[in-house]
Symmetry: C2
Subunit: 402 residues, 2 copies
Amino acid sequence: MAVNYKALTEATAVEYVKKNLDIFSEEAALQCKEIGDGNLNLVFRVWEEASEKSIILKQALPYARIVGEAMPVTLERARIESEALMLQGELCPNLTPKVYRFDRDLYLIVMEDLSDHIILRKGLIEGNEYPNFAENIGVFMAYTLFFTSDLGMDQMKKKQMQKKFINPELCKITEDLVFSEPYFDAAGNKIEPHLLDRVRKNWNNQELIKEVAILKEGFMTKAQALIHGDLHTGSVFVTEESTKVIDPEFAFYGPMGFDIGAIIGNFILNYIAQAAHMEEDQQKLESYRSYLLKSIKKIWKEFYKNFMELWEDNVTAPMESNLLYKQVYMRNLFEDTLGYAGCKMIRRIYGLAHVADIDNIKELEQRKKAQLLALDIGEILVLQRKEIKNIDEVVDRIKAFN
Amino acid sequence: MAVNYKALTEATAVEYVKKNLDIFSEEAALQCKEIGDGNLNLVFRVWEEASEKSIILKQALPYARIVGEAMPVTLERARIESEALMLQGELCPNLTPKVYRFDRDLYLIVMEDLSDHIILRKGLIEGNEYPNFAENIGVFMAYTLFFTSDLGMDQMKKKQMQKKFINPELCKITEDLVFSEPYFDAAGNKIEPHLLDRVRKNWNNQELIKEVAILKEGFMTKAQALIHGDLHTGSVFVTEESTKVIDPEFAFYGPMGFDIGAIIGNFILNYIAQAAHMEEDQQKLESYRSYLLKSIKKIWKEFYKNFMELWEDNVTAPMESNLLYKQVYMRNLFEDTLGYAGCKMIRRIYGLAHVADIDNIKELEQRKKAQLLALDIGEILVLQRKEIKNIDEVVDRIKAFN
């Protein structure tokens, strides 16, 4: 840990802002509140009532808050997060929070306050529609993935980038929680008793374990692009108009499909959960589910369209302009997307970290039904990703479970 | 370049040894000769007649010798080579030269003198048999690849290793010379006029270009293990009993099949060339070709056997112990091996750097025949790698061209 590191408090956060930043006037009356709900970071909102100006200070803690100092987590993740945010900000300035400063001693990122936004997961659980989101996230993924890959940047510079974003500790968390632990009787799994029989089937499903092992290997070895690494609906701030992707502390050079799959998998989880949340209003349910399924299609299609346009406009090398190669590349990316979406769904049902969409279903039978459906769809996406023709077929298969 | 860097001469090399190493006695009468025949390095042999002791000093030059200072090449490759040699030496002490010292200022490796060995390529061209080689190289590849992969080492440490071995400049050389330039009319290609029609077919073969693009992408993104990166028959010193793998300056985290394919592809090139070299003695030709084909089979089979034993003995994680996963893993590795072997063969016929096995064939018709055969077999390995069942079928297909 850096010698000068010290965890901020609400009081010292204000002092820090006064001393180091010229965002507020010198005589500004600053207020501060710690608003972090995560495990690994302190998040301070600092604001001035009079000018209505506000900023966020996000500081990495050297341990996981939930278990205290017993579980140390590298502070380096704050450097990785700030560098990823700045890079994503260059590529997609409207889709990322502005970064004002990164303090290497305090592992502290000073950035734009997005308090007028809400977390997408929360918005989806509440049943809100975000008409721009699918297009925005498609653009975000196309630009950030393309321009950090061998297709969109100098191949030697890409390797230097890859070096800067080697991220062993946070990759290890994903390797364990997403890929390994759900497939054996690991201590970290949180299995509701009514799921135990179904979960045991996964532990004994050699075909499923093989396919997840292949996807895990891809996560650990396929250095395709600088991926966000944790792009679920909890890592996106939205309003009806605006989309801001946050929290890229898991960023590293990995398989593109892991990002796309994360967002699609989490949309499917919300789709499954709505049957219970909107049970009382079938008309609303039908319309919202239709919105979610359209979003899933659009996320992939917007990504695809933008990525292919970038490829067309930016790649002149004869080999990488080969049409047949493009087709194979995009097909592999689609299969990765489905596979990772499936892994993400399964682990959210009985791994260490669940999602509110499902866990919020109070009634046991309804929750169980949603959980089992999520496990079935997750398994289909993993096992049948090579057979599924396109994103329309994914949506058709989900619909067929009604 | 380091401030203290200075290219050695025969005289200053002796001074260096006297001053810095205690291998020889103080009053030793040292002799020195520069014996490098490569493009990028100075190689000094320093020896004492009386004690029969000798060592090698290999110093990286900051430019390619063949074109002078116009083409700078990073000195960092000497660090990478020395670190790879030491690592390979720990894993396979009998199959690598001993490293006595690496001098970071001079980019100088002091190592064991292997003057009693000859370069395998030379030995094969001369028609010598090396009864231990196939087994030795199979063991070398199994141990160095397994124990630097996610299977054989801690996954977090592996990522730190990957960082140390990011090797942009030397990877770029391979990306250009092996994968890109042979597939369009690049200035660097060295195409004999009689091959031009055949080469043009490659430039127009969209299916071939697609498959090579996929293999190139694998080379650039598949961080499976610390590979040697240039494991052709010119990177191995042999005697009848002994095998020493040298020159890992291209080492980086890449696809394992690139190493296995390099050695197999170069054995096939020698096999093809012998029809001309041994034309006058058909009996010797038949026997030597049989030795070469047996070696090809044995290289793969020894690698496979040792790798699987290491897997069995060292992996306890339930997911990576899955039998179906092992089968897929080894099948993918086999297909990569064939694909990279094919790419290596093709580029050696009309890319920038040829091989003596083929270029030494003086008679034009014979040389042309060998060149065309190498291009055909290379293409088959690339295009049909997913259909070819096993290494025995590879050998059968090669034989069928007689």
